[in-house]
Protein backbone atom coordinates (compact mmCIF):
# COMPACT_ATOMS: atom_id res chain seq x y z
CA UNK A 1 0.00 0.00 0.00
CA UNK A 2 1.53 3.27 -0.98
CA UNK A 3 1.94 6.00 1.55
CA UNK A 4 -0.55 8.77 1.32
CA UNK A 5 1.45 11.92 1.31
CA UNK A 6 0.02 15.26 2.11
CA UNK A 7 1.98 16.85 -0.69
CA UNK A 8 1.24 18.17 -4.07
CA UNK A 9 2.50 15.41 -6.37
CA UNK A 10 3.51 17.48 -9.31
CA UNK A 11 6.81 18.29 -10.91
CA UNK A 12 8.27 21.62 -10.00
CA UNK A 13 7.87 24.37 -12.57
CA UNK A 14 10.92 25.32 -14.56
CA UNK A 15 9.50 28.61 -15.81
CA UNK A 16 6.06 29.98 -15.20
CA UNK A 17 3.61 31.31 -12.67
CA UNK A 18 2.14 29.78 -9.54
CA UNK A 19 -1.09 31.27 -8.27
CA UNK A 20 -1.46 30.32 -4.66
CA UNK A 21 -3.91 30.88 -1.78
CA UNK A 22 -6.97 30.88 -3.95
CA UNK A 23 -10.09 30.39 -1.78
CA UNK A 24 -11.12 26.96 -2.89
CA UNK A 25 -14.66 27.97 -3.86
CA UNK A 26 -13.28 30.60 -6.22
CA UNK A 27 -10.80 28.36 -7.98
CA UNK A 28 -12.79 27.58 -11.09
CA UNK A 29 -13.93 31.16 -11.46
CA UNK A 30 -10.28 32.20 -11.47
CA UNK A 31 -9.49 29.52 -14.05
CA UNK A 32 -12.26 30.84 -16.25
CA UNK A 33 -11.38 34.50 -15.71
CA UNK A 34 -7.84 33.89 -16.86
CA UNK A 35 -9.03 31.93 -19.86
CA UNK A 36 -6.84 28.98 -18.91
CA UNK A 37 -8.99 26.46 -20.78
CA UNK A 38 -7.89 28.09 -24.00
CA UNK A 39 -4.17 27.88 -23.30
CA UNK A 40 -1.74 25.34 -24.69
CA UNK A 41 0.81 25.33 -21.92
CA UNK A 42 1.08 22.77 -19.09
CA UNK A 43 -1.31 23.65 -16.32
CA UNK A 44 -1.74 21.99 -12.97
CA UNK A 45 -4.82 22.80 -10.95
CA UNK A 46 -5.14 21.85 -7.32
CA UNK A 47 -8.51 21.98 -5.59
CA UNK A 48 -9.49 21.61 -1.93
CA UNK A 49 -5.90 21.39 -0.79
CA UNK A 50 -5.20 21.82 2.90
CA UNK A 51 -4.04 25.25 3.87
CA UNK A 52 -2.98 26.68 7.20
CA UNK A 53 -4.31 30.10 6.36
CA UNK A 54 -7.49 29.33 4.47
CA UNK A 55 -8.44 25.85 5.62
CA UNK A 56 -8.92 24.73 2.06
CA UNK A 57 -7.28 26.37 -0.88
CA UNK A 58 -6.82 26.12 -4.60
CA UNK A 59 -3.58 26.43 -6.50
CA UNK A 60 -2.77 26.86 -10.18
CA UNK A 61 0.61 26.25 -11.77
CA UNK A 62 1.02 27.42 -15.33
CA UNK A 63 4.20 26.63 -17.22
CA UNK A 64 5.81 29.19 -19.48
CA UNK A 65 3.16 31.79 -18.85
CA UNK A 66 3.63 35.15 -17.21
CA UNK A 67 0.72 37.44 -16.49
CA UNK A 68 0.64 41.18 -16.96
CA UNK A 69 -0.89 43.49 -14.40
CA UNK A 70 -4.15 43.81 -16.30
CA UNK A 71 -4.75 40.08 -16.28
CA UNK A 72 -3.86 39.84 -12.61
CA UNK A 73 -6.25 42.64 -11.72
CA UNK A 74 -9.09 40.60 -13.19
CA UNK A 75 -8.54 38.03 -10.46
CA UNK A 76 -8.70 40.63 -7.72
CA UNK A 77 -12.47 41.04 -7.97
CA UNK A 78 -13.03 37.40 -7.22
CA UNK A 79 -10.05 36.63 -5.01
CA UNK A 80 -8.47 39.74 -3.58
CA UNK A 81 -5.67 38.12 -1.60
CA UNK A 82 -4.11 35.58 -3.91
CA UNK A 83 -0.37 35.44 -4.26
CA UNK A 84 1.62 34.92 -7.41
CA UNK A 85 5.04 33.31 -7.52
CA UNK A 86 7.02 33.95 -10.68
CA UNK A 87 9.34 31.03 -11.44
CA UNK A 88 12.40 31.09 -13.64
CA UNK A 89 14.89 28.22 -13.80
CA UNK A 90 13.10 26.46 -10.96
CA UNK A 91 13.56 29.46 -8.67
CA UNK A 92 11.02 31.92 -7.34
CA UNK A 93 12.31 35.20 -8.74
CA UNK A 94 9.37 37.35 -7.79
CA UNK A 95 6.39 37.27 -5.48
CA UNK A 96 3.38 39.36 -6.28
CA UNK A 97 0.28 40.01 -4.29
CA UNK A 98 -2.85 40.74 -6.26
CA UNK A 99 -4.14 44.25 -5.84
CA UNK A 100 -7.50 45.54 -6.87
CA UNK A 101 -7.04 48.32 -9.40
CA UNK A 102 -9.03 51.57 -9.38
CA UNK A 103 -11.02 50.53 -12.44
CA UNK A 104 -12.36 47.25 -13.74
CA UNK A 105 -12.95 47.04 -17.45
CA UNK A 106 -14.87 44.20 -19.06
CA UNK A 107 -14.79 42.00 -15.97
CA UNK A 108 -17.99 42.66 -14.04
CA UNK A 109 -21.55 42.75 -15.29
CA UNK A 110 -23.78 45.66 -14.30
CA UNK A 111 -26.76 44.53 -12.25
CA UNK A 112 -28.97 47.29 -13.66
CA UNK A 113 -31.00 45.94 -16.59
CA UNK A 114 -31.53 49.51 -17.75
CA UNK A 115 -27.84 50.23 -17.99
CA UNK A 116 -26.55 50.90 -21.48
CA UNK A 117 -23.89 48.24 -20.97
CA UNK A 118 -26.54 45.55 -20.84
CA UNK A 119 -28.20 46.71 -24.02
CA UNK A 120 -25.36 47.57 -26.34
CA UNK A 121 -22.24 45.69 -27.51
CA UNK A 122 -19.69 47.44 -25.34
CA UNK A 123 -17.35 46.65 -22.44
CA UNK A 124 -18.45 47.42 -18.88
CA UNK A 125 -16.44 49.79 -16.72
CA UNK A 126 -16.54 50.02 -12.95
CA UNK A 127 -14.84 52.34 -10.51
CA UNK A 128 -13.73 50.78 -7.26
CA UNK A 129 -15.23 52.86 -4.49
CA UNK A 130 -14.14 50.72 -1.54
CA UNK A 131 -11.48 48.06 -1.99
CA UNK A 132 -12.05 46.43 1.38
CA UNK A 133 -15.76 45.87 0.87
CA UNK A 134 -15.40 45.46 -2.88
CA UNK A 135 -17.95 48.20 -3.64
CA UNK A 136 -18.05 49.09 -7.29
CA UNK A 137 -19.77 51.88 -9.17
CA UNK A 138 -20.78 51.60 -12.81
CA UNK A 139 -19.12 54.29 -14.91
CA UNK A 140 -22.18 54.52 -17.12
CA UNK A 141 -25.38 54.21 -15.11
CA UNK A 142 -23.66 55.33 -11.88
CA UNK A 143 -25.34 52.68 -9.77
CA UNK A 144 -23.36 51.08 -7.00
CA UNK A 145 -22.82 47.37 -6.96
CA UNK A 146 -22.46 45.53 -3.68
CA UNK A 147 -20.09 42.63 -3.31
CA UNK A 148 -22.87 40.04 -3.18
CA UNK A 149 -24.34 41.28 -6.45
CA UNK A 150 -21.12 41.02 -8.42
CA UNK A 151 -21.37 38.80 -11.48
CA UNK A 152 -18.17 38.15 -13.37
CA UNK A 153 -18.45 38.22 -17.13
CA UNK A 154 -17.20 35.23 -19.03
CA UNK A 155 -14.25 36.37 -21.04
CA UNK A 156 -15.30 36.86 -24.60
CA UNK A 157 -13.07 35.93 -27.46
CA UNK A 158 -13.09 39.10 -29.57
Amino acid sequence: MSEIRQELQVAALKNGTVIDHIPTKKLFTVVSLLGLERMDCNITIGYNLNSEKLGKKGIIKIADKFFDDEEISRISVVAPHVKLNIIREYKVVEKKEVNMPEELKGIVKCANPKCITNNEPMPTLFHVIDKENCSLKCHYCEKELKKEDIVILQRRIL
Binding site: N112, K114, C115, I116, T117, N119, E120, P121, M122, C138, H139, Y140, C141, E142, K143, E144
Partner: protein, 309 residues
Protein backbone atom coordinates in the same frame (compact mmCIF):
# COMPACT_ATOMS: atom_id res chain seq x y z
CA UNK B 1 -9.54 67.37 -28.42
CA UNK B 2 -11.16 68.32 -25.16
CA UNK B 3 -14.51 66.70 -24.60
CA UNK B 4 -16.95 69.49 -23.89
CA UNK B 5 -19.99 67.24 -23.55
CA UNK B 6 -22.43 67.75 -20.70
CA UNK B 7 -23.39 64.40 -19.24
CA UNK B 8 -23.82 65.26 -15.59
CA UNK B 9 -23.61 68.37 -13.48
CA UNK B 10 -22.36 66.44 -10.47
CA UNK B 11 -18.69 67.06 -11.31
CA UNK B 12 -19.00 70.72 -12.19
CA UNK B 13 -16.94 73.04 -10.05
CA UNK B 14 -18.50 76.00 -8.30
CA UNK B 15 -16.83 78.33 -10.78
CA UNK B 16 -18.20 76.44 -13.74
CA UNK B 17 -21.73 76.52 -12.38
CA UNK B 18 -21.60 80.24 -11.68
CA UNK B 19 -20.10 80.83 -15.11
CA UNK B 20 -22.95 78.98 -16.84
CA UNK B 21 -25.51 80.86 -14.76
CA UNK B 22 -23.91 84.11 -15.81
CA UNK B 23 -24.24 83.04 -19.43
CA UNK B 24 -27.88 82.17 -18.88
CA UNK B 25 -28.43 85.63 -17.47
CA UNK B 26 -27.00 87.15 -20.65
CA UNK B 27 -29.44 85.09 -22.65
CA UNK B 28 -32.36 86.15 -20.51
CA UNK B 29 -31.51 89.73 -21.44
CA UNK B 30 -31.59 88.76 -25.08
CA UNK B 31 -32.43 85.23 -26.16
CA UNK B 32 -32.54 86.07 -29.85
CA UNK B 33 -29.11 86.16 -31.45
CA UNK B 34 -27.31 84.76 -34.44
CA UNK B 35 -24.42 83.01 -32.73
CA UNK B 36 -25.41 79.54 -33.90
CA UNK B 37 -25.73 80.67 -37.48
CA UNK B 38 -24.40 77.92 -39.75
CA UNK B 39 -24.62 75.23 -37.07
CA UNK B 40 -26.74 72.11 -37.37
CA UNK B 41 -27.83 70.59 -34.09
CA UNK B 42 -29.37 67.17 -33.72
CA UNK B 43 -32.05 66.49 -31.12
CA UNK B 44 -32.21 62.73 -30.71
CA UNK B 45 -35.02 61.83 -28.37
CA UNK B 46 -35.15 58.07 -28.12
CA UNK B 47 -37.78 58.57 -25.46
CA UNK B 48 -40.45 61.21 -25.90
CA UNK B 49 -40.30 64.33 -23.78
CA UNK B 50 -42.15 67.19 -25.30
CA UNK B 51 -41.25 69.86 -22.80
CA UNK B 52 -37.49 69.28 -22.74
CA UNK B 53 -37.30 68.81 -26.48
CA UNK B 54 -39.26 71.97 -27.27
CA UNK B 55 -37.16 73.90 -24.79
CA UNK B 56 -33.90 72.78 -26.40
CA UNK B 57 -35.23 73.30 -29.89
CA UNK B 58 -36.40 76.79 -29.07
CA UNK B 59 -33.01 77.50 -27.54
CA UNK B 60 -31.34 76.54 -30.81
CA UNK B 61 -33.87 78.28 -33.03
CA UNK B 62 -33.63 81.58 -31.19
CA UNK B 63 -29.85 81.50 -31.55
CA UNK B 64 -30.00 81.04 -35.30
CA UNK B 65 -29.10 77.33 -35.45
CA UNK B 66 -30.86 74.64 -37.50
CA UNK B 67 -32.27 71.42 -36.12
CA UNK B 68 -32.46 67.84 -37.30
CA UNK B 69 -33.56 64.85 -35.28
CA UNK B 70 -36.32 62.64 -34.05
CA UNK B 71 -38.63 62.57 -31.08
CA UNK B 72 -39.43 58.89 -30.78
CA UNK B 73 -37.15 55.93 -31.34
CA UNK B 74 -39.91 53.70 -32.66
CA UNK B 75 -39.81 55.48 -36.00
CA UNK B 76 -36.06 55.17 -36.40
CA UNK B 77 -33.54 52.50 -37.27
CA UNK B 78 -33.24 51.76 -33.54
CA UNK B 79 -36.40 49.78 -33.93
CA UNK B 80 -34.59 47.74 -36.60
CA UNK B 81 -31.94 46.90 -34.05
CA UNK B 82 -29.34 49.51 -34.91
CA UNK B 83 -27.01 50.04 -31.98
CA UNK B 84 -26.77 53.37 -30.23
CA UNK B 85 -23.17 53.60 -31.34
CA UNK B 86 -24.06 53.35 -35.01
CA UNK B 87 -26.83 55.91 -34.68
CA UNK B 88 -24.53 58.35 -32.94
CA UNK B 89 -21.70 57.85 -35.43
CA UNK B 90 -24.09 58.33 -38.32
CA UNK B 91 -25.62 61.53 -36.98
CA UNK B 92 -22.16 62.86 -36.10
CA UNK B 93 -21.56 63.10 -39.84
CA UNK B 94 -24.31 65.65 -40.15
CA UNK B 95 -24.49 67.70 -36.98
CA UNK B 96 -22.20 69.89 -34.89
CA UNK B 97 -23.81 68.83 -31.61
CA UNK B 98 -26.13 66.08 -30.38
CA UNK B 99 -28.74 66.67 -27.69
CA UNK B 100 -30.05 63.32 -26.62
CA UNK B 101 -32.61 61.79 -24.31
CA UNK B 102 -32.52 58.02 -23.89
CA UNK B 103 -34.40 55.51 -21.75
CA UNK B 104 -31.22 53.66 -20.77
CA UNK B 105 -28.97 54.91 -18.01
CA UNK B 106 -25.45 55.72 -19.11
CA UNK B 107 -26.44 56.22 -22.75
CA UNK B 108 -25.27 59.83 -22.84
CA UNK B 109 -22.01 58.98 -21.09
CA UNK B 110 -21.34 56.30 -23.68
CA UNK B 111 -22.27 58.57 -26.55
CA UNK B 112 -19.91 61.25 -25.25
CA UNK B 113 -17.07 58.73 -25.32
CA UNK B 114 -17.60 57.58 -28.88
CA UNK B 115 -18.89 60.64 -30.71
CA UNK B 116 -16.53 63.06 -32.50
CA UNK B 117 -18.92 65.90 -31.64
CA UNK B 118 -20.17 67.10 -28.23
CA UNK B 119 -23.18 65.50 -26.54
CA UNK B 120 -25.69 67.14 -24.22
CA UNK B 121 -27.55 64.76 -21.95
CA UNK B 122 -31.24 65.67 -21.97
CA UNK B 123 -32.03 62.80 -19.64
CA UNK B 124 -30.79 59.22 -19.43
CA UNK B 125 -33.30 56.90 -17.81
CA UNK B 126 -33.57 57.55 -14.11
CA UNK B 127 -29.99 58.79 -13.94
CA UNK B 128 -29.13 62.39 -14.83
CA UNK B 129 -30.92 65.41 -16.26
CA UNK B 130 -28.34 68.18 -16.01
CA UNK B 131 -30.19 70.88 -17.93
CA UNK B 132 -33.08 70.62 -15.48
CA UNK B 133 -30.67 71.13 -12.61
CA UNK B 134 -29.15 74.13 -14.36
CA UNK B 135 -32.51 75.77 -14.76
CA UNK B 136 -33.39 74.95 -11.17
CA UNK B 137 -30.17 76.61 -10.02
CA UNK B 138 -30.81 79.59 -12.24
CA UNK B 139 -34.30 79.97 -10.82
CA UNK B 140 -33.03 79.74 -7.26
CA UNK B 141 -30.27 82.25 -7.88
CA UNK B 142 -32.56 84.64 -9.66
CA UNK B 143 -35.31 84.62 -7.06
CA UNK B 144 -33.06 84.60 -3.99
CA UNK B 145 -30.30 86.81 -5.32
CA UNK B 146 -27.77 84.16 -4.37
CA UNK B 147 -27.25 80.42 -4.10
CA UNK B 148 -25.53 80.61 -0.73
CA UNK B 149 -26.86 79.56 2.68
CA UNK B 150 -30.43 78.86 1.66
CA UNK B 151 -33.12 76.71 3.28
CA UNK B 152 -34.27 74.42 0.53
CA UNK B 153 -37.28 72.20 1.12
CA UNK B 154 -37.65 69.17 -1.14
CA UNK B 155 -41.13 67.65 -1.03
CA UNK B 156 -42.74 64.54 -2.46
CA UNK B 157 -40.98 61.68 -4.19
CA UNK B 158 -37.42 61.93 -2.95
CA UNK B 159 -36.64 58.32 -3.67
CA UNK B 160 -37.09 58.26 -7.43
CA UNK B 161 -36.91 61.97 -8.17
CA UNK B 162 -33.78 62.43 -10.23
CA UNK B 163 -34.18 66.19 -10.23
CA UNK B 164 -33.94 66.39 -6.44
CA UNK B 165 -30.90 64.12 -6.37
CA UNK B 166 -29.17 66.21 -8.97
CA UNK B 167 -30.06 69.43 -7.17
CA UNK B 168 -28.49 68.19 -3.95
CA UNK B 169 -25.26 67.39 -5.75
CA UNK B 170 -25.11 70.71 -7.57
CA UNK B 171 -25.87 72.68 -4.40
CA UNK B 172 -22.98 71.14 -2.47
CA UNK B 173 -20.84 74.19 -3.25
CA UNK B 174 -23.24 76.65 -1.67
CA UNK B 175 -23.79 75.62 1.95
CA UNK B 176 -27.53 74.91 1.80
CA UNK B 177 -29.71 73.43 4.52
CA UNK B 178 -31.99 70.85 3.01
CA UNK B 179 -35.30 69.76 4.44
CA UNK B 180 -36.51 66.45 3.10
CA UNK B 181 -40.28 66.04 3.30
CA UNK B 182 -41.60 62.72 2.02
CA UNK B 183 -43.70 59.70 2.98
CA UNK B 184 -41.67 56.82 4.40
CA UNK B 185 -41.96 54.79 1.22
CA UNK B 186 -40.45 57.59 -0.84
CA UNK B 187 -37.94 59.06 1.53
CA UNK B 188 -34.49 60.24 0.47
CA UNK B 189 -32.31 57.19 -0.20
CA UNK B 190 -29.41 56.42 2.10
CA UNK B 191 -26.80 57.04 -0.59
CA UNK B 192 -27.81 60.71 -0.85
CA UNK B 193 -27.82 61.18 2.89
CA UNK B 194 -24.32 59.73 2.88
CA UNK B 195 -23.47 62.14 0.07
CA UNK B 196 -24.70 65.02 2.23
CA UNK B 197 -22.61 63.86 5.17
CA UNK B 198 -19.53 63.52 3.00
CA UNK B 199 -19.97 67.03 1.64
CA UNK B 200 -20.94 68.70 4.92
CA UNK B 201 -24.44 69.46 3.72
CA UNK B 202 -26.92 69.93 6.55
CA UNK B 203 -30.26 68.22 6.20
CA UNK B 204 -33.37 67.56 8.25
CA UNK B 205 -35.98 64.91 7.52
CA UNK B 206 -39.72 65.24 8.04
CA UNK B 207 -42.74 63.16 7.19
CA UNK B 208 -45.26 65.91 7.97
CA UNK B 209 -46.00 68.68 5.53
CA UNK B 210 -47.72 71.72 7.00
CA UNK B 211 -47.53 75.46 7.60
CA UNK B 212 -45.24 75.26 10.60
CA UNK B 213 -42.66 73.12 8.89
CA UNK B 214 -42.33 75.30 5.80
CA UNK B 215 -42.28 78.62 7.67
CA UNK B 216 -38.53 79.11 7.20
CA UNK B 217 -38.22 77.92 3.64
CA UNK B 218 -36.53 80.01 0.99
CA UNK B 219 -37.26 77.49 -1.74
CA UNK B 220 -40.06 74.93 -1.78
CA UNK B 221 -39.36 72.33 -4.45
CA UNK B 222 -42.45 70.21 -5.03
CA UNK B 223 -42.45 66.85 -6.81
CA UNK B 224 -45.23 64.46 -7.59
CA UNK B 225 -46.04 61.48 -5.40
CA UNK B 226 -46.94 58.79 -7.90
CA UNK B 227 -49.21 55.87 -7.08
CA UNK B 228 -47.10 53.54 -9.26
CA UNK B 229 -44.09 54.02 -7.00
CA UNK B 230 -45.79 52.52 -3.97
CA UNK B 231 -45.52 48.84 -3.16
CA UNK B 232 -48.01 49.30 -0.33
CA UNK B 233 -51.09 50.88 -1.86
CA UNK B 234 -52.74 51.39 1.51
CA UNK B 235 -49.77 53.58 2.37
CA UNK B 236 -50.37 55.53 -0.82
CA UNK B 237 -54.01 56.09 0.11
CA UNK B 238 -52.91 57.36 3.52
CA UNK B 239 -50.40 59.86 2.17
CA UNK B 240 -51.77 60.91 -1.20
CA UNK B 241 -53.32 64.10 0.15
CA UNK B 242 -50.64 64.96 2.64
CA UNK B 243 -48.01 66.29 0.26
CA UNK B 244 -50.22 68.76 -1.50
CA UNK B 245 -49.46 72.44 -1.34
CA UNK B 246 -52.46 74.68 -0.83
CA UNK B 247 -52.55 78.44 -0.93
CA UNK B 248 -53.49 78.91 2.70
CA UNK B 249 -50.31 77.11 3.76
CA UNK B 250 -48.31 80.01 2.35
CA UNK B 251 -49.72 82.72 4.60
CA UNK B 252 -46.86 82.81 7.09
CA UNK B 253 -44.02 81.86 4.81
CA UNK B 254 -41.10 84.15 4.06
CA UNK B 255 -41.68 86.88 1.49
CA UNK B 256 -38.75 85.61 -0.57
CA UNK B 257 -40.11 82.07 -0.69
CA UNK B 258 -40.54 80.69 -4.18
CA UNK B 259 -42.30 77.49 -5.17
CA UNK B 260 -40.58 75.36 -7.79
CA UNK B 261 -41.75 72.22 -9.58
CA UNK B 262 -40.04 70.39 -12.44
CA UNK B 263 -43.50 69.83 -14.04
CA UNK B 264 -45.79 68.33 -15.12
CA UNK B 265 -47.82 69.21 -12.08
CA UNK B 266 -50.82 67.00 -11.33
CA UNK B 267 -52.41 67.67 -7.96
CA UNK B 268 -49.46 68.27 -5.68
CA UNK B 269 -49.78 72.01 -6.11
CA UNK B 270 -53.40 73.10 -5.78
CA UNK B 271 -54.59 75.45 -8.48
CA UNK B 272 -55.31 78.16 -5.91
CA UNK B 273 -51.54 78.54 -5.51
CA UNK B 274 -51.04 79.66 -9.12
CA UNK B 275 -52.10 83.23 -8.44
CA UNK B 276 -49.89 83.58 -5.40
CA UNK B 277 -46.83 85.70 -6.21
CA UNK B 278 -44.66 83.00 -4.66
CA UNK B 279 -45.63 80.49 -7.34
CA UNK B 280 -42.67 80.34 -9.68
CA UNK B 281 -42.99 77.06 -11.57
CA UNK B 282 -43.98 78.52 -14.91
CA UNK B 283 -41.23 81.11 -14.87
CA UNK B 284 -38.96 78.27 -13.86
CA UNK B 285 -39.85 76.45 -17.08
CA UNK B 286 -39.15 79.61 -19.05
CA UNK B 287 -35.73 79.85 -17.43
CA UNK B 288 -35.08 76.50 -19.05
CA UNK B 289 -34.71 78.29 -22.34
CA UNK B 290 -31.88 80.51 -21.10
CA UNK B 291 -30.13 77.77 -19.15
CA UNK B 292 -30.17 75.53 -22.21
CA UNK B 293 -28.87 78.29 -24.46
CA UNK B 294 -25.96 78.69 -22.08
CA UNK B 295 -25.29 74.96 -22.05
CA UNK B 296 -25.44 74.67 -25.82
CA UNK B 297 -23.01 77.54 -26.32
CA UNK B 298 -20.61 76.26 -23.72
CA UNK B 299 -20.34 72.78 -25.23
CA UNK B 300 -19.70 74.35 -28.62
CA UNK B 301 -16.83 76.36 -27.21
CA UNK B 302 -18.62 79.68 -27.29
CA UNK B 303 -17.59 81.71 -24.27
CA UNK B 304 -19.27 84.27 -22.05
CA UNK B 305 -17.11 86.95 -23.68
CA UNK B 306 -18.29 85.89 -27.11
CA UNK B 307 -21.89 86.54 -26.17
CA UNK B 308 -21.66 89.60 -23.95
CA UNK B 309 -23.43 92.53 -25.51
Amino acid sequence: MENRSLVTIAEHSKEKILYLLEMAKQFENNPNRKILDGKVIATLFFEPSTRTRLSFETAVNRLGGRIIGFSDASTTSSSKGETLKDTIMMVSNYADLIIMRHYLEGAARYASEIAPIPIINAGDGANQHPSQTMLDLYSIQKTQGTLENLNIFLVGDLKYGRTVHSLIMAMRHFNPTFHFIAPDELKMPEEYKIYCNEHNINYVEHTDFNEEIIADADILYMTRVQRERFTDLMEYERVKNVYILRNKMLEHTRPNLRILHPLPRVNEIAYDVDDNEKAYYFQQARNGLFARQAIICDVLGITLDDIKE
